[in-house]
């Protein structure tokens, strides 16, 4: 096993990338799904091993073809990357395991292999971003994952997905191209693309203005991809019309990976070398984070479609992650990073429950779901647990990261209390919009047309409950995500990979 261990960072990407084209050939019914699920499970096991290594404090580097950096292409898995790899591969595995019936319902058998192949390409691309230690490779992987995720979003039966995916494509490409401009400017000044090498060489650069411009382009470009308020307009429709299984996957990890690149680039490359850049970073992103939390939560309060409600809540959650990062403190970053993990658990469980609901209800408007809990009590109980975690009730995962965020805000002194108020207000709004769903499904009388509605398929229900129970487990025993997040935050602040 040890000989194989050294290759794990590369295998994390190579396995799904190689199996993706093979999946398109698996025409017999169900075979493509089985292959994709097995692959996803394998990548999850790889990421577990990598996370164990990161917990033990190893830096897991890899030199492609044995060429040493900065001339060869390097891969590098740090604690932050390992944390998100867990989220990514775990999210994909949960969604695929649970999603068989939902995929059968929404996508005709002939197109399923193609859809699942695009799914694996998203997985490969996003893993590639997380293991890569090279600015340009990150761009290429970002485009692989984006192009494939446009296919995922547009793969559903609802035609409204098409304008949504077109908008996503436009904004995603502009975001990636902005990132490319920023990388170009950094390359122009340093002559290297290896992130570790950029850190060293940038210290000799005398004219830092192009680097500052690069910081602007990279921040805005990745902000677009990460759906940072007010650049989030592509997200609600894209999440709403994606096939339900795809929503579980994308909502759990897609925006977080872009945030990973944004934070690693900004903290490691720019803040160490540009004078006063921490203050600029905080002053630029903190208001956006606050606005994101408040405005997106407020929109969710009045949204009538269940999936779109949760999508707006995702925009608000990106705000929390960014709020933690924009305090530029160990506590705040730890909170922000841990929130990526915890939010993925909460939103994953919620969207899994939505997928169960969608098996039986053709429309996900809240009015049409009245009394659904009478027919599907297990599904809706899992939904409530996910909702509690999203709100941040003690005993669930969401509480842990919000506690860190509040502690970090209080560290800031006077203005920090305003941030505490924002976090509390955001959580209260989360209580309100989750309550609207609970009120509709638990306390309203079901219509007569629901008489023959049964619980969701057993496998789907089991996976949903597993995700819901993970929320409680990681709320009571949060050492895994907190250890990785703290190490990741320390790395970002210390600047060493």
């Amino acid at each position: 096993m040890t000989a194989l261990d050294a290759h794990l960072p590369a295998l994390q990407v190579v396995v799904p990338l190689l199996i993706a084209p093979l999946v398109t050939l698996l025409r017999p019914r169900g075979l493509a799904w089985a292959a994709a699920t097995a692959t996803s499970l394998l990548t999850f096991l790889i990421s577990l091993t990598l996370a164990a290594g990161a917990l033990a404090g190893e830096i897991q580097g890899y030199q492609l073809g044995g060429w040493p950096g900065p001339y060869g292409i390097e891969l590098n898995v740090n604690s932050f990357g390992a944390l998100l790899l867990l989220v990514l591969t775990g999210g994909s595995t949960f969604a695929l395991l649970a999603g068989k019936a939902s995929l059968d319902q929404q996508i005709e058998p002939g197109r399923q292999p193609l859809f699942l192949s695009a799914w694996l390409l998203v997985l490969a691309g996003l893993s590639g971003i997380l293991v890569s230690a090279d600015a340009f490779n990150i761009f290429v992987f970002m485009e692989i994952s984006s192009l494939a995720s446009y296919v995922l979003v547009g793969g559903g039966p609802d035609r409204r997905a098409l304008p949504a995916v077109f908008k996503y494509l436009m904004m995603g490409t502009i975001g990636a191209t902005f990132y490319l401009i920023g990388v170009g400017l950094v390359y122009m000044m340093t002559g290297t693309l290896n992130l570790a090498d950029i850190q060293v060489r940038i210290q000799d650069v005398t004219d830092l203005r192009p680097v500052l411009v690069a910081a602007g382009f990279i921040t805005v470009g990745l902000g677009l991809k990460a759906a940072v308020f007010p650049l989030h307009v592509w997200l609600p429709n894209a999440y709403t019309f994606t096939p339900h299984a795809g929503t579980v996957f994308l909502a759990a990890c897609a925006t977080k990976v872009s945030l990973y690149v944004l934070l690693s680039f900004d903290f490691v490359v720019f803040q160490q070398n540009l004078v006063g850049h921490e203050a600029q970073f905080a002053a630029f992103l903190m208001p956006l984070a606050v606005m994101g939390i408040l405005v997106a939560s407020a929109v969710a309060l009045f949204e009538s479609n269940l999936k779109r409600l949760l999508a707006f809540s995702s925009v608000a959650q990106v705000g929390y992650m960014l709020l933690g990062a924009s305090t530029v403190s160990l506590l705040g970053l730890t909170g922000g990073l841990a929130h990526m993990f915890n939010h993925a658990l909460a939103k994953g469980a919620l969207f899994l429950a939505v997928m169960c609901l969608a098996m039986r209800f053709p429309s996900l408007e809240l009015d049409d779901l009245a009394g659904a809990a009478k027919r599907m009590p297990w599904t809706m109980t899992a939904f409530v647990i996910g909702g509690l975690s999203l709100i941040g009730v003690p005993g669930t995962a969401g509480f842990i990261s919000k506690w860190y965020l509040i502690s970090a805000s209080m560290e800031l002194g006077g203005a920090g209390w305003l941030l505490v108020a924002v976090i509390v207000l955001g959580s209260l709004m989360a209580v309100a919009y989750i309550w609207r769903v609970v009120e509709a499904v638990w306390f309203r009388q079901p219509g007569p047309e629901q008489a023959d509605i049964r619980e969701a398929p057993v496998l789907m229900l089991i996976v949903t409950w597993l995700a819901a129970l993970c929320n409680i487990y990681f709320g009571l025993a949060p050492s895994l995500q907190i250890k990785l997040a703290t190490d990741g935050a320390r790395m970002l602040l210390g600047g060493l990979p």
Binding site: G154, R159, P163, I174
Partner: protein
């Protein structure tokens, strides 16, 4: 500051903004995609420009020319990759437009929004 001496970068900036304008302002989806292509092409030019040294040649060692000046070949290789990405994006975008035309009978953003509102 010799502003016009940096004309390569002006070309980059102007093209970038022309493309961006088309993406934002046009309602025809094909025109938006054309704008996106111009936008990306501008960035290709930025990369090509920065690798060029005046008087520089291709980076090939030649006998009898010990002190030749080479242009940096790496940006061109990078941009070859980016061009491939750009083509895939345009192709996928056009594919989506075809599907939109099939489903909505129009490729104008406003028409599509009105159809969805009904």
């Amino acid at each position: 500051m010799n502003l016009l001496g940096l004309y390569h970068y002006w070309v980059f900036a102007v093209l970038l903004m022309i493309g961006f304008y088309a993406v934002v302002a046009k309602t025809n989806l094909i025109k938006k995609l054309i704008g996106l292509s111009i936008f990306q092409a501008a960035v290709f030019l930025l990369y090509i420009t920065m690798g060029k040294i005046s008087g520089g040649t291709a980076p090939i060692l030649q006998k009898g020319v010990p002190d030749a000046i080479f242009s940096n070949p790496l940006p061109q290789v990078l941009i070859l990759t980016a061009i491939v990405v750009g083509i895939s994006t345009t192709a996928l975008g056009l594919g989506i437009v075809v599907r939109i035309k099939e489903e909505y009978g129009s490729i104008d953003e406003q028409d599509i929004q009105e159809t969805d509102r009904q």
